[in-house]
Amino acid sequence: MTVDTAPAPAGAAAPARRDRTLPAGSVITTFLVLFLVVAAFSVEGFASTRNAGFLLLDVVVIALIALPLTLIVVTGEIDLSVASTVGLCSAVMGQLWVAGLPLEAIVPLVLVLGGVLGAVNGFLVTRLGLPSLAVTIGTLALYRGLAFVVLGDQAVADFPRAWTTWAISSIGSTGIPTVVVPLLVLVVLTGVVLHATPVGRALYAMGNSEDAARFSGIDVARTKLWLFVVTGVVSALGGVYWTLRYGSARADNATGLELQVIAAILLGGVSIFGGSGGLLGVIAGALLLGSVRNALQLVNVPSDVLNIVTGVLLITAVVAPQVAARVKGRRRRRPAS
């Protein structure tokens, strides 16, 4: 997983970086396993199938959007507009439903809309050369604003029962949500693209040195443009699912979700500077955030503490490998001098 895939694309350019980020991915996976074991034995009701279902349902959208966003972060860019895309797509979905279209027609339309929203980001970043951080702060406000323009502060809630119950249904009596299956397919697909294809290697190369990537024949602008488009489509898919899962299309759906997705990605050991990290770490990061929240809720810790835990986890996950690398570096230097 992260351990054997990340070093290769990092290449000769970043031995220091490899030191810094490698532990983070594996550390977080180990941490997740440890946490699950401890929680299963010490938190009453944590290890039940019912609870596992709830936990996974809450993680699904975060993990889903984290997939393409990880690819974007690996190339050294960022997209803060994903949650607003979810909101706008949800609002449009509600409005189209009110207008009388069948969901079979609405869903593809909404996905196309997501692609267009992503393409706007991608165009501004790759063709006009604007910094993605500033662009997507702009579209974060723009898309959320348009969501309110489309739907105002009302909610559309009369979606067909068959769809909304499917969204929260589970596979047989296992408690595992049905929706985890398509998510897993997407995880595997993204993992293969990132870690086992030339495209994936190109993404790491771009993140390490865009100029070097360009000189070695990678069409940086086009690749990034498509990444933004894909992120838009996947966020739209997240919007559709969010709407069905809560049975309600609202303009403020998923407000602030971008921070949780980015927290999961960074917790998973992906460098915010691009060029390193792996997908399994990210999934572990998303699961860890979800499990910690879930376990704390079960032992009735107020939700305020959850925020503190999220914040401290995030900072620790980034500071710890940094400190470890520094200690290691010092030890290495000492015998030499």
């Binding site: 604007l130 500033a134 723009l142 604003g145 927290a263 915010i272 305020d304």
Partner: protein
């Protein structure tokens, strides 16, 4: 910011460094372009006000303008602090949470000790913010972790601390009735008809602007943002300067919390939620480059004023207030596109001059 030290903006420092090579005429050109940039926001602001006044003459009524200035005051103070951080190629996303924490701390102090002089309350709120800023700055400067990540973490942590404090003290909301009248008077106080809170914001902007422009350490903040490595090599204590920027920004976010408490007088733990985006937006709209090294606090202040004005002007123009966020977003995109165009033009003109001289 430190994050994706992306390639296009990386060109910025070089071009901004160029004027030093081309001498006084070059730097005059750079200066003129930046003045043009700030005048541009001012023009947009004036245009917006004019259009709104034509649609609704009462827009410029005394009370309306005072409300506008009061709302702008808080965002302006936050934007002034954020500018100091952004010019060093960092960002502080935790300011909304710091504002909330400081507002709640100030409120609690005044409820527990109603006799506290207003000045002490202001200083206490500011100090709470400064401590938060110190924490951010220490992790960023000492551990060398990107500020985007650190302050995203403290955005959660400070907010959690705020609500944990409120729930454990069993005081989830502080109402106007709980606050001493001396402090409440601050919210409505006027000097020559101008709200005092706005004057505080103006004073903060002038002070920060003066510091950034005239002090050696202020100029060094720009140097750090333009080229961190070059700054280090030329002997600038990068860590200490960045730490200072974070502490000052935290203190100003704390002060903004006090202003918030004085203005709204009803405090719960959601105060300032989501403000970080508007603050960064104000700075960016005001011409502060998100990757550091350029921009002025005056621009950021004008950006804050423009964003606030849009919020109040839309309903007056007969537009749904729901359009506000969309307008803000469009404005951010327009501003960064304009900056990019100016930057390219500047680079082309400086190149032209160099070429002529070399001949």
């Amino acid at each position: 910011m430190s994050a994706p030290v992306a390639k296009p903006p990386a060109a910025l420092p070089e071009e901004l460094a160029a004027p030093e090579r081309t001498g006084r005429r070059g730097s005059a050109l750079v200066h003129r372009l930046f003045v043009v940039r700030e005048l541009g926001i001012l023009a947009a602001l004036v245009l917006l006000v004019l259009v709104t006044v034509v649609a609704n003459p009462r827009f410029l009524s005394g009370q309306n303008v005072r409300d506008l200035l009061l709302s702008a005051a808080i965002l302006t103070v936050l934007a002034a602090g954020q500018t100091m951080v952004i010019v060093t190629r960092n960002v502080d996303l935790s300011v909304g949470s710091v504002l909330g924490l400081s507002a709640y701390a100030t409120g609690t102090l005044l409820v527990v000790a109603p006799g506290t002089p207003v000045v002490v309350a202001v200083l206490a709120g500011t100090a709470v913010g400064a401590v938060c800023g110190l924490l951010n700055g220490l992790v960023v400067a000492a551990a060398g972790v990107p500020s985007l990540v650190v302050t995203l973490g403290t955005l959660y942590a400070f907010r959690g601390l705020d609500s944990l404090w409120a729930s454990s003290a069993d005081r989830l909301q502080i109402n106007a009735a709980d606050l001493p009248s001396g402090f409440k008077a601050l919210g409505g106080a006027r000097l020559l008809g101008v709200p005092v809170l706005f004057l505080v914001a103006v004073a903060v902007v002038l002070l920060v602007g003066w510091y950034l422009r005239t002090f050696r350490s202020g100029r060094e903040l720009y140097g750090i943002g333009s080229a961190p490595e070059a700054a280090r090599l030329s002997g600038i204590p990068v860590g200490r300067r960045v730490l200072t920027a974070f502490v000052v920004n935290g203190a100003l976010a704390g002060l903004a919390g006090v202003l918030y408490a004085a203005r709204f007088q009803t405090l719960d733990t959601t105060a300032g939620t989501g403000q970080e985006l508007f603050v960064v937006a104000a700075a960016v709209v005001g011409g502060v480059a998100i990757f550091g090294g350029s921009g002025s606090v005056y621009g950021a202040a004008l950006g804050a004023l423009l964003l606030t004005t849009i919020g109040t002007a839309l309903p007056q123009l007969g537009l749904d207030p729901f359009w506000r966020d969309a307008a803000v977003g469009a404005l951010i995109l327009a501003a960064i596109a304009l900056d990019r165009a100016l930057q390219l033009r500047l680079a082309a003109r400086l190149r032209g001059r160099n070429a002529r001289r070399d001949r």
